[in-house]
């Protein structure tokens, strides 16, 4: 079976007055139907720009300069806007971090969901409202039909994010790109949303790209994980193998930075320094200046080392635990 999504050597750059920001630099991965992929990294790692590239929403001064994104066999890079709009919201949907910013404050939930329904086909008002109500029920909004006439401000943050997720689900998309969808939510609400997303992906066979800085969330949701640093994928693989025995020193450092992995009160094994500016990245491995294993070899681009479904881009990868 061929992959639903096939990204090959994607480069997305931003042409700013200060110079060219190479936000995504040679990203490749594929995604099967029904698979949940966690895209992990810190600010400036390129994880969100990768997500925006997938849905064709990279705004100037940014653009995809090269590479290929094949969705169900169709090339998305260079696709005319009109064709992209037919896909987006129908077969590819997205959910963003801040539902207060993605919902229109002057339209009721029912009105804006009906707009989304009719953007991809004819439907009577009653049919659109009915579909909206049924989808809201699926994401756990009680008494959905009555709540269609409420405005976004009448919902809590968690409920607004459910509305955003329901809107994404309206057309039964094959792929959902979700960018930090639970970051702004309280833990008890985040747990509810994670449980529902996992169930929806399993039930409907929707593939999910889950972009997050939170390794714990990704580990409990995703099947596979991609770790990004300075616009590149530095490591990828099955989520439990990768996080149990990471091979890239950066992934190791991220895990060691989590208080949950240390004994309370003990010093964390921190990564020194901070993420580099993408404007003036020196040649070679971008992590080398912060890496405990770096040596002279790291001044050249590290190779992709592929073993048993896992990839690590490093001159000196950590040994795989037996």
């Amino acid at each position: 079976m061929s992959a639903l999504l096939e990204v090959r050597d994607l480069h997305t750059h931003f042409f700013t007055r200060a110079g060219v920001v190479r936000a995504v630099e040679g990203v490749s991965f594929s995604l099967a139907r029904g698979e949940i992929l966690g895209l992990v990294g810190e600010s400036g790692s390129g994880k969100s720009v990768t997500g925006f590239s997938l849905i064709g929403l990279v705004d100037p001064p940014g653009r995809i300069v090269s590479g290929s994104i094949r969705f169900d066999g169709q090339e998305l890079v260079g696709l005319p806007q009109a064709a992209m709009r037919r896909l987006r919201g129908a077969r590819i949907a997205m959910v963003f971090q801040d539902p207060a910013a993605t919902l229109n404050p002057v339209l009721t939930i029912g009105q804006q969901m009906a707009l989304a329904v009719r953007a991809h086909g004819r439907a009577s008002e009653a049919a659109a409202r009915d579909l909206a109500a049924r989808t809201l029920t699926r994401v756990g909004i009680p008494d959905a039909a009555a709540r269609l006439d409420a405005y976004p401000h009448e919902f809590s943050g968690g409920m607004r994010q459910r509305v955003a997720i329901a809107t994404a689900l309206l057309h039964g998309p094959e792929l959902i790109v979700a960018d930090e969808p639970t970051t702004a939510l309280d833990v008890s609400i985040q747990a509810q949303i994670l449980a529902e997303m996992k169930k929806l992906a399993k039930e409907s066979g929707t593939a999910l790209v889950w972009i997050s800085h939170d390794l714990a969330t990704v580990s409990s949701l995703a099947d596979r994980v991609l770790v990004m640093y300075a616009g590149r994928i530095v490591e990828s693989g099955g989520v439990s193998e990768t996080l149990r025995a990471p091979r890239h020193p950066y992934t190791r450092g991220l895990l060691d930075s989590l208080p949950a992995t240390a004994r309370p009160g003990e010093k964390l094994n921190q990564i020194p320094g901070s993420t580099p500016s993408l404007l003036a990245l020196p040649p070679g491995c971008p992590f080398a200046p912060r890496c405990p294993r770096a040596d002279a070899a790291c001044a050249t681009d590290p190779p992709d080392v592929v073993t048993g479904g896992r990839l690590v881009r490093c001159h000196h990868p950590l040994a795989v635990a037996a």
């Binding site: 833990v187 985040q190 714990a216 990564i271």
Partner: protein, 346 residues
């Protein structure tokens, strides 16, 4: 001391035990925010009509004590009152009822902060540093104004603090925008510590930082706390961060402490159903393929503090709730192992 108006300060007896070396004490602290009434409502009120005042009680009758050298973690979800409580403890917001004592002295006189012995570090170092002041001037301003250091010695003092928080002393002449988020938080910590406080109130100090930078700031915090023997109140929504830095933890829900006790006990054997639900909600790092992620989310949403549920505020979401929970608010009562729990069924 004015008694809280209606509650009569039931929780006031719930200070852990008399502790001789407790440095911060809060007794029956309450904060109400009254809405601004419209002109019509004010006239109606003056004429004796019953005007509905939808006051928010952000913090209700909280009593706690922090010992010398101890770190108390305050945990809760948005709107639980943890930041409001932190401001009252830090002496930058006056309680509506109850009192706060730092070393036996109220940190506020009237509407003004009256002590330098307690300092705060806030979440957003972009908002808490003056963008037009060089950071050297920002750090020196307080100590010079309070006579803690002579103006002539200020540059040396600034250089010393910058080095201690891991920044190049030459950065003193830079402006906040020239720093990254993590560096700005180091500046904010240096500014607070240059006041030579005995206590630090940290409100979400690492919440807006990347994971690798968060680890650096937590390590810095642990080092400075040890070297200076600081007493801290550490406020966070992040349960794993709080566990890492705290000796004791207090869990808040809708303005009240529902459980408090030793951090190690709370995380291994939580008693209050809300604490249990909160800990179950936190995504765990799942490292074994067969270690299936199970979510046991707490049902429902946080109630509005404008109209808190009667009885136990958690009862509409609580799996153990019975008739008594709907009728009667449980008091924070001490248990045999020194824990304090406000639950009829725990």
């Amino acid at each position: 001391m004015s008694a809280p108006d209606r509650q009569g300060g039931e929780g006031s007896g719930a200070v852990d035990r008399p502790i001789p070396d407790r440095i911060l004490v809060a007794e029956g602290v309450t904060k109400r925010f009254d809405p601004r009434l419209s002109l019509g409502d004010r006239i109606a009120g003056a004429l004796g009509a019953a005007v509905e005042r939808r006051a928010v009680q952000a913090v209700s009758d909280v009593s706690l004590a922090v010992r010398q050298g101890e770190t108390l973690g305050l945990v809760g979800e948005s709107g639980c009152g943890k930041s409001t409580l932190g401001k009252m403890l830090a002496g930058i917001m006056a309680p509506s009822a109850g009192r706060v004592l730092v070393d036996g002295v109220a940190p506020m006189q009237g509407r003004h902060k009256a002590t330098t012995r307690i300092q705060t570090v806030f979440q957003d170092p972009f908002a808490s540093l003056n963008p037009r002041m060089r950071i050297g001037a920002t750090i020196a301003e307080g100590p010079v104004a309070h006579g803690l250091v002579a103006r002539a010695q200020a540059p040396a003092m600034v250089a010393d603090w910058l080095a201690r928080v891991g920044l190049d002393p030459a950065f003193a002449s830079r402006f906040p925008h020239q720093f990254s988020g993590g560096q700005r938080q180091r500046v904010a910590i240096a500014r607070a510590l240059a006041m030579q406080p005995v206590m630090l109130v940290c409100d979400e100090p690492v919440a807006s930082l990347d994971v690798s930078i968060q680890a650096q700031i937590l390590n810095l915090f642990l080092d400075l706390r040890r070297d200076l023997g600081l007493t801290c109140v550490f406020i966070s929504h992040d349960l794993s961060v709080v566990r890492h830095v705290s000796d004791r933890v207090a869990i808040m829900y809708l303005g009240r402490i529902v459980e408090s006790g030793a951090a190690a006990r709370i995380y291994t054997a939580p008693r209050h159903p809300y604490t249990q639900g909160l800990l179950d909600s936190v995504p765990k790092l799942r490292l074994e393929a067969d270690d299936l992620a199970t979510f046991k989310p707490i049902a429902g949403e946080l109630p509005s503090p404008l109209s808190p549920p009667p009885g136990c505020a958690f009862h509409p979401r609580c799996p153990k709730a019975t008739e008594i929970c709907r009728a009667e608010r449980p008091l924070l009562t001490p248990r045999e192992d020194g824990a304090l729990v406000a639950c009829h069924h725990a």
